[in-house]
Each structure stands twice: as structure tokens, then as C-alpha cells.
Symmetry: D2
Subunit: 434 residues, 4 copies
Amino acid sequence: MIPRYSRPDMVAIWSPETKFRIWYEIEAHACDAQAELGVIPKENAEAVWKAKDVQFDVARIDEIEAVTKHDVIAFLTHLAEHVGSDQARFVHQGMTSSDVLDTTLNIQLVRAADLLLAGMDRVLTALKTRAFEHKDTVRIGRSHGIHAEPTTMGLTFARFYAEMARGRSRLVAAREEIRTGAISGAVGTFANIDPYVEDYVCKQLGLEPEPVSTQVIPRDRHAMFFATLGVIASSIENIAIEIRHMQRTEVLEAEEFFSPGQKGSSAMPHKRNPVLTENLTGLARLVRMSVIPAMENVALWHERDISHSSVERAIGPDTTITLDFALHRLAGVVEKLVIYPDNMLKNMNKFKGLVMSQRVLLALTQAGVSREDSYRLVQRNAMKVWEQGADFKTELLADPEVTAALSPAEIEEKFDLGYHTKHVDTIFRRVFGA
Amino acid sequence: MIPRYSRPDMVAIWSPETKFRIWYEIEAHACDAQAELGVIPKENAEAVWKAKDVQFDVARIDEIEAVTKHDVIAFLTHLAEHVGSDQARFVHQGMTSSDVLDTTLNIQLVRAADLLLAGMDRVLTALKTRAFEHKDTVRIGRSHGIHAEPTTMGLTFARFYAEMARGRSRLVAAREEIRTGAISGAVGTFANIDPYVEDYVCKQLGLEPEPVSTQVIPRDRHAMFFATLGVIASSIENIAIEIRHMQRTEVLEAEEFFSPGQKGSSAMPHKRNPVLTENLTGLARLVRMSVIPAMENVALWHERDISHSSVERAIGPDTTITLDFALHRLAGVVEKLVIYPDNMLKNMNKFKGLVMSQRVLLALTQAGVSREDSYRLVQRNAMKVWEQGADFKTELLADPEVTAALSPAEIEEKFDLGYHTKHVDTIFRRVFGA
Amino acid sequence: MIPRYSRPDMVAIWSPETKFRIWYEIEAHACDAQAELGVIPKENAEAVWKAKDVQFDVARIDEIEAVTKHDVIAFLTHLAEHVGSDQARFVHQGMTSSDVLDTTLNIQLVRAADLLLAGMDRVLTALKTRAFEHKDTVRIGRSHGIHAEPTTMGLTFARFYAEMARGRSRLVAAREEIRTGAISGAVGTFANIDPYVEDYVCKQLGLEPEPVSTQVIPRDRHAMFFATLGVIASSIENIAIEIRHMQRTEVLEAEEFFSPGQKGSSAMPHKRNPVLTENLTGLARLVRMSVIPAMENVALWHERDISHSSVERAIGPDTTITLDFALHRLAGVVEKLVIYPDNMLKNMNKFKGLVMSQRVLLALTQAGVSREDSYRLVQRNAMKVWEQGADFKTELLADPEVTAALSPAEIEEKFDLGYHTKHVDTIFRRVFGA
Amino acid sequence: MIPRYSRPDMVAIWSPETKFRIWYEIEAHACDAQAELGVIPKENAEAVWKAKDVQFDVARIDEIEAVTKHDVIAFLTHLAEHVGSDQARFVHQGMTSSDVLDTTLNIQLVRAADLLLAGMDRVLTALKTRAFEHKDTVRIGRSHGIHAEPTTMGLTFARFYAEMARGRSRLVAAREEIRTGAISGAVGTFANIDPYVEDYVCKQLGLEPEPVSTQVIPRDRHAMFFATLGVIASSIENIAIEIRHMQRTEVLEAEEFFSPGQKGSSAMPHKRNPVLTENLTGLARLVRMSVIPAMENVALWHERDISHSSVERAIGPDTTITLDFALHRLAGVVEKLVIYPDNMLKNMNKFKGLVMSQRVLLALTQAGVSREDSYRLVQRNAMKVWEQGADFKTELLADPEVTAALSPAEIEEKFDLGYHTKHVDTIFRRVFGA
């Protein structure tokens, strides 16, 4: 976790304080359930809630762990210091450490998912706003980095919106994947604890009971979760790359907002660099790198080995914190992106009229010229624009083979930009609804 | 694609013949829609269906492509050879190559998903059958590779079933992700083709229209698809690793079926190696390796670049073919797995009674001994079993501190295996339903 | 392996014919060594060489393998059909299948490395030629996609040359990593075969004996090999991305060669797309995807498990074939790249004189203006160029605070391009030698 | 970076204090060189060294950066607070931020490599010691997890030693890869700074000048560095997996050292889990996950984009810290590994004599029995051991077809363990030298 790429809310989810708080709640709720079942005395269960408002002492727990080399035992020992060791004696009864650890991890991931969803919502709002703002801002569409046909800046935002909205749905599903808890004992048989305890605790904490666990909650759930984050990060990269392209000197159709105090370069004061989106490109790589380890974590030996643990200690916080930060950074970039419609037009006209070649090709075909001949005619005039800087329309009007098939008015009409934007509303309706 | 790890049905989906057939159907349906709109003459649309029963000549198309260096143009030229070049002149009108290519890829992926779902169903059936067959076959549960507490072989199969069932749901979702088509023209604006054509063609082919495309269908869909395959492959690895462990000489609780003619080793004729599950472990790595490239494919430049194409030409077939093969190999392994319940009991008793230590610990605690003392008492007797091969129950019965808290009958009762299997039915109900 | 991305020489290395030929040579040489040691009769060793010119029948071997389910046994059976089953009886004695398989794989990888080195040499030659050709072709250097200071096209080629030359050295080292053979028996103890056989066979085949093997050659060697290919592929991507940027419509400083017959787009005849370098970008992803599986292959269980095998059957051929193809495609692109020096100058002057701001900043500082003031002065004039299209030099000459520190001649001198290219020769000397 | 998996020495390399110290040294040495060249006054260069013993104030620098949003400018501003802003005015002249940042990163990586080499040396020493200690400790070799033929525990250690020694050589090469510095200005042309400064600074700091840089040092170097760490991590995993297998209850040939205070499980006091090697398995995944992002960092746009930076801020420290920790954890595990030679013998004899089947097979062949018949004879007796728990030797002695070919003494001789260990010295000589 790199502070410069962190937001406090997400960091807090992964703090030891939060972790111990969740541990406490699981243990306390489990005692309630055990008392209800008559397995432990009611007063002992109640006593545990005495620590309800305690902020657990992380340093003290670490101190105990240094001796026991076991984190849950260290916590329970510390808890007993608050509740009284006699009254605390039934805490954790019939449970295994992983019951606590795995249920906690999933609670943290659910909370992380909630923050990420909020981040995605901010991105979605920004994209939608900018999409409608630039619904009709014409801009050249490019395939292979080469001018193709006109499109609008609004469509670009709309497709990022649709992609992010898909990402959001995937994240909702991924959140559901890890919204389970398990209190099933050493190998998942409930030998020493009634399934009711699991049901009860999960209900209190907003989780579903894991239908069949071993000592641990199965890691295919977490693999799916991190894989989903990897896909979302790739969509962030997609938007970031588009903005980086738009900002490059020769294109300059948009720029990241440049605050007054900011210095672009220690050496070149005129520079305004798309550093936020470049940064997002890197952050996407960081999020994605958790995917394979999360998948390698699935095949634990028998009822569990602990190889997954160190991986999750790293990627649990790091990946969610990085993605959370990236979403908000992206939202900020989109919200404040400075857009230059004039430059969009200027760029589109770099090769005068050439982007309309497809329309002319079609018109020739429909006027009865063979596909091959149409292609040849268009290409020969296009080449003059390309190589000599000629104006496409002028050349077409001067080409007798072309004018034999199309009248000047028909040719003229092919250069109307409205032709290319006529379905923008249809697409917006598909993306944003009626 | 490695023939030895391929099944013909999946290979067929990726054959050039299948591809050209889908191209043809897209073009023919698009002509119908265009004719309906009055954009092209009805007779030209009808003429295209003359090729309905043609098996397209792959070699001929390759020959044409060698000249044009463009696959779709090569195909259209070949199609014209069948339909007549005059009648074929409106084919592909207003469309761009990617309209055909991307829609085709998604159709292939949907079909691949259907085959994979069938493979998963076979695995699920096998796992369910074996789960019920061995619902009560007691077996030691292991954490960290170390004996923990008893469980049953049925529970092991049940958890693999639950995991695969989750994988199936994920695959259904992933299939839905890529069940879209696009016929939206050069940069996705429908400038030269009415959205109705896209609607019509998609409907004919069982797809949803991509709400907003560029020249291509957005690649976050494919990233999600391959990420999902990676998770499923990791679950296959999980099962494979379990079986490999069970088959190792010292454990021998199960073995892959060994056909009479098979030779395990050129040098050691007695060997029966878990080569199928080892192979599955490797195949899982191969499936997983497509995940990152699929994610790297998301950030295409502007309205598209073609970097994704070579990646998909490889991972499209390779990953689905490998996973399909792996699912059926896994199903076969599970169906025919030879299980040795006697060895399971023998292994469990390697350290006589030691696996019951947790129960004794709990019993001591509940009998009023402090947690720390209980732990100490259990551990000191356990160590005798571990180090001197003693019998745990005998030691406990001879330990006055233990017998001060628990009567011999109470101690005896702790060694009842039924204690550990009492909730198996509950878990089975959770997994398989009532 | 995708035929369209394959070159025959590399494909041949991975053909079954080549594989069986290498198997044969290993077995035959091993027989010679065994005969020399007196372990088997000389005539039996000699008899094996009767098959020296045999092209082994792959279909027949497959047929036998269908029964035995063991490839080496199938091959030996077939060999006996040529040599005579009595005379062939000592073939493979004391050896284990992996002795043959692993030594063969390494021979194939060494040969693959040799082809890759040849491919890199072709790339290096092309880069060097173009570097010297454009040593002094001035071009704007860009950081963050934004104009920075002038550099030369030759320097761009020179740095790609230096990077590829590093790649070449790494590949030489990687080749050395896998240039080992092992004939050490079932678990690597030479129990049934004298180490002399290994020494002898390795010497005949240009390999080093693996110092300590198990049943297999350790896979860290292969992991290093594939990791190295992944780095080289990333360097290919680096060059490809640069060319794609240069070719984009707004930049157009270079173009992939566009052959007369070639059609850029079915819809837009004027388009010339950088499809080769886009393809290389995708191929780089494909090469890289082998790295993690190759690393996952390292931790085989005990003296070996066979999980690595399926992985290597795929990535062995696929990765080397793809990289080989990519190197030659890249070489072709570089050799024929069409470069537009005029456009380079035009682009550089897009913001008139602004790229010289760093020089002016330094000059002001050296003339005694404080760093902060210098920065402010440069920035305020730069902003006029940026925002109003002014000419930087003109603005500076008109700014009294600037002219108070620098004379017109001094300002003038800051706009000399030679200033930026004065060390090109030094750098070339570093890269290409005196 | 996870504190629990960190060692202070490596953490210190990545502290802001270390970073600023290196920045300072680069700037100060650069001033010396500039003064030598006569570019800046000697007294200004000397003045910079006034800060020689300053511990830079990280909080203050952060404060300045919050305004400037540029870290190097923030540092230089702070440096001026120590040196005097007038005297500091020539600091950084002609340099670009990346000159400082990239050279610093490489110095940190070189230092990290040095610590890693020390860690590897500790592992190598431990492996060598244990190898010689158990050179002749016989143990069954296993392929596919199935008993094969005897080997020795010493050979296992020896092969891990050889693998780690290869890793060490690779790390030495990787260290050399990133042992370069660059002070070449905004786009690498040395326009504003003489190459002598780069030469001088690199020499002072133990680096080689980067032959051709852009604004940055080329990232193929770093990709190679992290790829190498990934391979080493995979070798750690290899050793960890072996130990985990040895410790599993049914095998128990070795155990991680279990300190007196340690508790294996909150529930099962008898458990001794191989948690350190399981942890190493997870750490290996964490190290490996940096490889792909490091490769994705290679293709920076033009003369640089900053996408690599966030990646390196994470993987620079995290990967080296994790690997450093893992190496020392591994060394500790190997040094203190408790080995059970008796259990090794017991395991080997689980299937009485069966592991000698290969020898018998060979003996039969050499006695003139055909390969097929020999195989059949061995297999039929082996199956009795396997299925009925018979003793292999006894069965062979009772099989008339066997005794027709081999005398009882000859059969007897095949069961001599010395046969399998006779070349151990040869292998040790290969690995450890004479």
C-alpha cells in the first residue's frame, strides 16, 4: 500500500483496529448463539459485550502474539483482559481460528466492494454528465490511430459509461461471491459447534453461511473477486489511454485539468502532461497483478494450507486500496477534463474531406458503379489528398468518371457531418435509457 | 491447440469452415434486413441465400487473401464466385469487417461456453454421484497436510461440487457477457447502416445488440470471459491436487483408474501414477495464462486497434479447447476414481486417537478446567502419542489430572466417530438441496 | 501455434519428425556409450545405427501409443521394427523416459534459441542501418506524449538497437541455461546407468551434463528461458508502440511500408494502418503469457510430477514460434519503414519555438536571474504560444524583463537546433562502438 | 510491504530518508562535475556539500510537494533551505528530474540485490551443510508422488543447492542489468549537460553510464531484474513444497523446527504445521506477481511516459522486501529442519521391496529374457505386493519363470541399497566441486 495512492476510507477497512473490531463482533455474536443453544451460560455471553466500546490495543495484542505466535489466541487473551478471564472462558468455544479470520476477510472485502461501488458511481456520474455535455461535439473516429469517420465526443464518453456500468454489475456479482461467512470448525464438519451458530453470526453481520466450507472458505470466491477487480482496472486503463492520446501535442483534443500551482516539469515550464492518466495506466497494472496469485490460491491442500494467507495480506488491502484510489482519480480527471472542440474539428480536417471517402464509395456503388471500380475511383482521389494535400471534394468534382455517376449536388451532400451523427440519440437511449 | 488435449466438438467451433459459415449467415441476414429497409433490392438479398448449402472453400479464400491481404474481402470475393458478382454487389454494404469478425467471435465464444457448460454438467454429475456414494466414508481431515479431525469423503466431493456449481453460474454469466453482436459500421455510429440491421441480425443469431460499439465490440467483455475460465481452471486444479495427494504412496486413499493395457513407467512396472490429475494441474496453468493478455486487450486505441486480434486467434481456440478437454478429463477421473475406505481408516489411526484431541480439550473446558490448563493437559498427552506412539485414549485415562475432570465413560465417548459426521446431512442439504 | 504467425524453420524444430530424430540420436549414442563401458554388446549398439537414415513413421508410433499410452515405449517399439527386436533389446537400458524427453526438449530449445538469435541479428542490422541513415534527422522528443526537446530519429533507432542488443545478450545467457542434458535414471541417482553415458551423449549433442537432476532436468532453467523471451517480447512491443505513434494521422512521421496490392480497409480506401506493429503488440502479449506458467512449473513434487509437460507442449512451440515470427516481422517493418523527415520538422514547430523553453530558462538563470524568476518569465511567454499561437522567440524579444537579462543575439542563439544534436556522435559511439 | 514479512535492512533501502540521501549525492556530485567543466562556479559546488551530514526533513519536503506537486522541485527547495538559496542556484542545472529519480532507483535496486545475494548465500550455506550432513541418508525417490527408487536426502539438498546457485548467478547478472545511471537531460540528448557529468556521477556512485537513455533509463533492464526475482522465488517455492510434503502426517520425514512457546492450532494442540514453508509458497506468488507489470512497463511512449512510476513505487520495495524476507525465512527453515531418517526407511519399505522392481527388470533383460517378458514377470509379482501386501523378494524367489533366469543370489543382490547410492559422491563433486 502506497500512501500517495490511498484514500483514508479504504485504508481504514484494512487497519488492525477494524480487523480486531470485526473479530470481536464475530466472537460476541457466536457467544450469543451458543448461549441460546444452551452450550454456554447466558451470563458469559452477555459479559463479552462489556467490551463493546473498547478500542482494542493493537500494540498489546502484538506483544502477546510475539510469544504465542498465533494471532487469534493473542487477541482472545487480550479480550480476556477486558472481559475477565473467567467470564471470557467460553469465547471462541468450538470454533477454529479460520472461522474468525475468513469471515473477517470477507466482511472486509464486502466493505471494500461497497466503497469501490461508490467510486464507480462517481465515475459513472462524471461520464454521463460529460457524455450529454458533448453528445454532439463532432470528432474524428480513429481505427489503428488513423482517421476513419466522424463520431462525437459524447459517444466516446457513452461507451466508457457503458463499460463502467458493466464493470459495476460485475462488481455487484463479485461482492455477492465473497459475502459469506463460515463458523464450521476445524475441518468444516461442525463437529464441535452447531450450524446454528454460523447461521446466527452470518445473519447479524449481513453474510450468507458458506454452504460447505473446510477449515476455510473456498478460495475460488476470492479468485473471482480479484479477477473482477482486474477487469475493472483494465477498463480504467482503457479510458486513461484514450485521454492520454487526446492530450498529446499533435492531437490536443482534451487535457487533464492543470491547477495553477502545478509545475509540469522541472525543466520545461510550458509542459502540461497527462500525468494522472499515465498514473492510472500504471495503477491498472498493479490491480491486475493480483489476479494470478488469487487464482493460485484456490488449490489449497486438503482442508486448507496457509499459503493463501500471505498473498491475501498483501493483495487484500493493496488491490482494493489501489483500485479505490484509481476510481476516484479517474472520476476527478473526467469531471474536470478540459475539452477542445475546435481542435477536434481542426484535426478532422487535416486531410481535407478524406474521412468521407466511405460515403462516396457507397454512393458510387449505389449509383451502379461496380464495387471494384468505385473503390478505384475513391482511392485515386483520396491519394491526391493524402500525398498532395488536395481537397477531396474538389478532386471528386473534377473527376469525370465520378461525375458521370454522381451529380455535384450528390457529391456535395456526402460531406454533411449530420450524416454521421444521426443515430447518436439512438445509441444514447440504449446506454442511458429513455 | 495441442491435438492430444483437444476434443473434436470444440475444435470444430474454431475451424475455418465454421468461421466462414458464420460470416456467411451474418452477411445474408444483413442483406435481408437491408432489403426490408429498402436499401438494397430484395432479389439481391434473396440471391445470397443461393449459397445456403455451400461448404466454402477455405483454400480458395486463402488464395485470394494472399493477394488482397484482407480476409473479409477475400471471403466476399469468394462468395461472389458462388452467388454471381452482380447479384452479390450489395453484400456487406455499409458494414465494416469488424462487424462480421467481432460478431462471429462472440458467436464462437457462446458456442464454446455451451460446450463448456456441458462439460461442467458432466463434472457436476460425477461429483454428486461420488459424494452420495461416499457420504459417510470417514476420512481424516487435514489442515497444513497434518491430520486434524475426521470428515468424510462425501464432504470432499460435496465441496468440489459446490465449487464447480459456482463455476457454472459464473460461466453462465460470462456467456451472457459475450452474447452480443455489432453491426454499427466503421466507428460505431451507424452512419452507413441502420441500427435495424444490427437488431435484425442479432435476433436471428441469438445475440443482443451491443449497446454502444466502436469499430469493435468492447473487449472488457472478453476479458471477463477469459478471467472466468481462469477461475474455473483453478477449481479444476483444486480437485486435481486433492486427488494427487490421495494417490501418493504413503496416503493411497484413492487412485485414478488404471486401465489394463496402460504402462505406468518404462522403468518401474509397478507404478500407478496420477498422471491425469497431474496433467490437469498443467492444463489449469495453460487456461489461466490467457487471463492477463485478455485484460491487456481491453485498452485498444481510440475506436480500435488490432492488437487484440492475434491474442484472440490464439487464446480463443486454445483456452476453450484446453478447458473443455480438462473438464471431460476431470469428469472421467472422478467418475472412475478408485477409492480405498480402508486406507482412509488406517491413515486416520496413524497417531492413535490423536485426532480427537480437540474434543477432549473442549470437554475439559466445559468440565470447568481453565482453557490454559485444558490445553496443557491435552498437549502433554498428545505429545506421548506423537513421540512414543502411545494410544491417546489410554494416556488420557491414565492421567489423574484428566480423570479428575472427566470420567472414563466421558473420555470413551469422545472417541466416537459419529460425533464428527453428525452434520453431514445438513451440509449435503445445503449443497444439493432437500 | 497459429500458422499465420509461424515461420517454417521454427515450426520444423517442433515437428514430431524432429522430435523422434532427436530421441533416436540420444538412444543410439547412449548405446555406443553403454557398449564402450561393456554394459551391452558392441554389435547391438552398432545395429541401432542401421536406422540412421530412417524417417520415422509418426502415424505408426501414434498407433502404438494408442495401445501403450506411453510415448517413449511406443517409439522404442517402432524403432525395434526397423532395427530388429532382438538387436534392439538393449536400447534405452537403464534409462528412464524423461532422460530422453528432457534432453530432447532442451535440444529443441537450444535450436529455437539459435533461430531466435538469428532473428534478433536481423532486427539489429535493420535498426543499425536506419539509425545511421537518420542519425541527424531532427525530430521532437516527447515525454508524456507532449513535446519536450529536439532529438533525432537516429537516436530513437540507436536506443532500440541498444535494447535489442541487451536482449540478445540475455538470450545467449538463456540459451546457455537450457543447454544441458540428463541421462541419470528414474530418480537421478545413476543407479542403473553410469554417469559416463550422460557425459558421452551430452558431448555428442553439444550439451553439458546436468550436474544434479532428478527424474527430470530442473525447471528453473526453463523458467529463466521463458522469462527472457518475455523480456525480449516486451522490447518488441516497445518498438512497435513507437512506430504506431509515429504513424497516427496527426503525427505521420513514419509509416509501415504499404504494398501496392494491399487494401487498408474494406470501407475506407485511403487508410494505411500500422497493422504490423499493432500485430506485434498482440504477439508480445502472447509471448509474455508463457512466463508465469513456466515459473509455476518449477515446483514439481519430489523427484518430479508431470504437470509441467502439458504446459511445455504448448509454450515450447507456441512461444518460440511466435517470438521468431515477431522478430522477423519487426525486422521487415524496420527495414522498410517509410520515414517523413519533413513531417518531423512540421510537428516540432507546431508550437512555435516552445520546445526551446528549457534553453531560455537556463540562459536566464546563468545570466543571474533567480531560478524562480526565470521560471516565471519563461512560463508567461510560453503560455502565449500555447494559448494564442504566438511565436516564442518573438514574445521573448518583446518581453523587457527577458531582454534585460539576455541580448537579442543571445535569445536568437537559443533557437539553434545544432545545440540539441551536438552529442549524437558521442551516443552513437557508445552504442555502436568507434 | 507487509511489516510481518519485512527485514529492517531491506526496508531501510526504500525509506524516504535513503531516497533523499541518494538524490542529494547525485546532485552534489553533478555540481562537482559541472564546476570541473567550468559550467558553474566551484564555490557553489562546494557549498552543496555543506548539507553532507544533514538528515533531510521528509515531512518538510512533503509539505512543499503538496504545493508544487513535483517531488524533485520540492526536494531542491528544501535543499536550498540548508545550503542557502543563492548558493544552491546551480544545483540540478541542465538536469531533468528523471536523471535523479532513475539513477536513484537503480542504486536502490543494486543495494537490494546486494542484500538478496547475502540472503541467497545464507540459504546456500544452509543447504550445503544439510546436504553433507545427510549425504548418505537413504530416502525413497518419488515421481508423481509415487515411490520410485531410493535416493538420499543429501541429494535432495544438493539439487536445491545447485538450483539456488544458479539463481545466485542469475541475480548477479540481474544486478549488473540495473547498475546504470543516466544524467542526460530532458530527452537524453545531453543538450543542456555534458556527458562528462553523467560519467563522473556514475563513477562516484559505482554505476555505469547508460549508453543511450531518453528521459529515462530503459525499462527492459528492470523487467529483466524482476523476472529474475520471479525465477528465484519459484525456486524457493520448489524447496518449500518439498518440505511441506515431507512434513505431512503420513510421510513425516522432516519437520520445521517447532519452538517451545509456539501453538500450532487454537483447537488441536498436537498439531505441528509446516506454516513457514506454506508461507513461503504464498510469498513466492507475491514475488512472481511483479514480473508481468515490470514487463508491461517496458513500452513507454516516445521518450517516456510515467506509467511505470506507480508500478515501481509498489514493486520496487514490495518485491525486494518480500524476497529478502523469504530467503532468510527459508534459510532458517533449512538450518533448523528436523529430519527423521528412521521414517525415511519406514516409508521406503511400505511396499516391501517394490522399489527395486526396475533393477529386477533390468537383470531379467540382461539374463536374456525379452523386454516384454521381463516387464510381464516383474509386473505380476509387483502386483501381489501392491494388492496383497506381499514381500517382493519372496514373491520373486517363488516365481519359477523368474528363478529360471536369475539365481536366488542374483535376486538377493538386487535389494542392496548401496546400489542406488554409489554415484552420490560423483554428483556431490559436480555440485560442490572437488
